[in-house]
Amino acid sequence: MRTADVVIIGGGLHGCSTALHLALRGLRPILVEKDYAGRHASGVNAGGVRQLARHIAEIPLSIASMALWENIEDLVGDDCGFSSHGTVLVAESEQELAGFRARVDDLRLKGFAHEELIDHAELKRLVPAVSDDCPGGVVSRRDGAADPFRTTQAFRRRAIERGAAVIEGVSVTGLARNGSVWRVETSDGPIEAPKVVNAAGAWADRIAAQLGEPVPLEVIAPMLMVSSRVPPFIDPVVILRGRKLSFKQLANGTVVIGGGHLAVSYRDENRTVLDWTKLATSARTVWELFPAMREATIVRAWAGIEARMPDEIPVVGPSRTSEGVFHQFGFSAHGFQLGPATGAVMAELVATGATNLPIDGLGIERFKA
């Protein structure tokens, strides 16, 4: 019988980050992953490292994460391909810009200064290629982008170096309380540990249901596409509000186009089917916003499977029903940036029972029937 201090279910960025932070606290976690680390959304997301336009409940986590991203090499021994050129939310109309202004003012009142309203001139300075019709926008200057698979692998590798065990190709088939410990059944035999972290992403609702706290998790697969290399023409990540778009040029010249249009996903088969009619909608948006991209070639499109909650914020915190179990899932298509700090918060919670960083509003109790 294997034993550990903590069993982490799920080898996405969040599970790997929690494994690393637990190991850094001197605990011995075992992470169990049914495929391989970074196989799904963590490995194939758009790679945006964004504080901009977040729900108020997750802003403290996001800000804490940003500080870790800025020194990511110190944490994981790899720069994770992180670069910081800001994220720009482009307003496509004066009306939209007015809404952005209200949001930025509101954040100021609450003590957050990372979002900054910009006028047309500053927008054109930051994103010269953007269409002249856009009146302004919002920038978060410290934001950036990183390589998602490389990041997940770096957390996984450093976690192992610091004493975590990572078991891949093994799925969790059940869990039950056995005296003072949890017995986690896997396809490769049981593991016992006093604490369990549910970081199972699109499959996390099944763990929660076993614990008697079902959640309305929706399985989604946001689509992305990437172009062939084009000459450098844009530094920041650009996002829109009204129409779904995220747009960024990587250092190698390729341009990643996303924005949340969904593929059809089959989580039991690890399979997604792309919806080209929606990708065409993205293509039309780019066509209008960035005329320079019109003749660029689309070489690949894909989608990563993940979880979305009805309120589009994650579930972070202790189980409502089961002592010793903690949830970390449902990041609703924007969990990549949160990975580094959420792992630290989870490790603190698991090790001490409390956390200094506010995670109010993220608990699973909000879904109590």
Binding site: F149, S228, V273, W276, T277, R284, W287, V299
Partner: protein, 464 residues
Amino acid sequence: MNAVDLASSYDLIVIGGGPAGLAAASLAARAGVSTVLFDENPGVGGQIYRGITSTPVTNRLILGEDYWAGEALANEAEASGAVVVNGATVWSLDPERVVGVSIAGKARLIEARRVIIATGSQERPFPIPGWTLPGVMTAGAAQTVLKAQGLLPDGRTVMAGTGPLMWLLAAQILRAGGKIEAILDTTPRRNFLRASPHLPDFVLSPYFAKGLALLREVKAKVPVRRVSSVAAVGDGKLREVVSDRGRMPADLLLLHQGVVPNVNLALAAGTAHAWNERQLCFQPVLDDHFESSVPGIAVAGDGAGIAGGTAAAERGRIAAIAAVRALKPAAAVPDPQSVRQRLRREEMGRAFLDWLHRPADSFRQPEGDTLACRCEEVTARQVRETADMGCEGPNQMKAFLRCGMGPCQGRLCGLTITELIAAQRKTTPAEVGYYRLRPPVKPITLAELASLPISEAERKAVER
């Protein structure tokens, strides 16, 4: 035919206008099934009958009677009532049989009740040192130019490799008045031992007499050397070809070591594939009717496993008969048994040819600085070292090294990467698997994608 003139759905979509696609589309259309054939080339024929309706090479002796057999297939398709669309690039096929196609810069999504993939074969990667130098090209590319434009290789030409198609191209070049300095035959000598049990079948097959005649014809005019290493050397362009039998100056090196199924579209559609150890490639898992693991999608022709052009046409017919029976049970179709009989005869000599021309490990699993992935310039050493570090499969390798992520979508490196990982980790290609293929399987421009009709998009958005 323009993209806008296409119907939004057909009973049957056939993808690829080689022998399998032409035969399938003709048979289905004649049975009264609404059929469209998408072919990306300017004219039908595929690679084997490339330019069959337009080639400037009118002397029939040069390309040979096997080539001109394609004329009947092309005429049959023309007369069959099938809608044949040339210049149509199919870039996506999903399991619901929605086909993404671009014609003259405009894209459409067309639905079908059945799909027959007939995208044929491609040349096996031949990653030797210097294979990316200008002056080095594949024999298939040289044959394309000969068939489509009637152009012959220029300058001192050396061929290297193995397989029937290399000898066929050599004969075609010689008949057309071209010159070949030497042929470096990379066929491993010990292959004959493994092939010999299949010799009796081969002797009885249509390949035997043709093959011997071809060899005799070429060897009478070109010195042939058996080699176990080949490298292309030069600065900025090919200067000489170096083998274990010496060096020779050359302006053009034509490489060929057999063909393998072109699996990209079938993989992207989600069909199951398996490793073929005899032919050293992945091929779709198919039933007797060439139906894949995805309902309604069949794969015919060399894309179903290499068997040659004549067999491809018979396979196309079998797949089409199955499609007609599913779509229009009352329609008259040819007797499948006689088609199967012809197919068996065509396939008879295959085992011998496959074992005889199985390329040596050293020509499939490069070492050192030899490029494995041309698009992203990833070397064999990088792949081997990354496999040693624990990278278990091609999809993780993509993430580490970007191999297979360039415009060719892994066509030129997929098998090499799989085999290198298998060799390094002491396992099998079947275990290692292949790239997960992502559409578009052929690059399309953002403008093309943006041209998808909006009304259709809105309709779909509601349906899904």
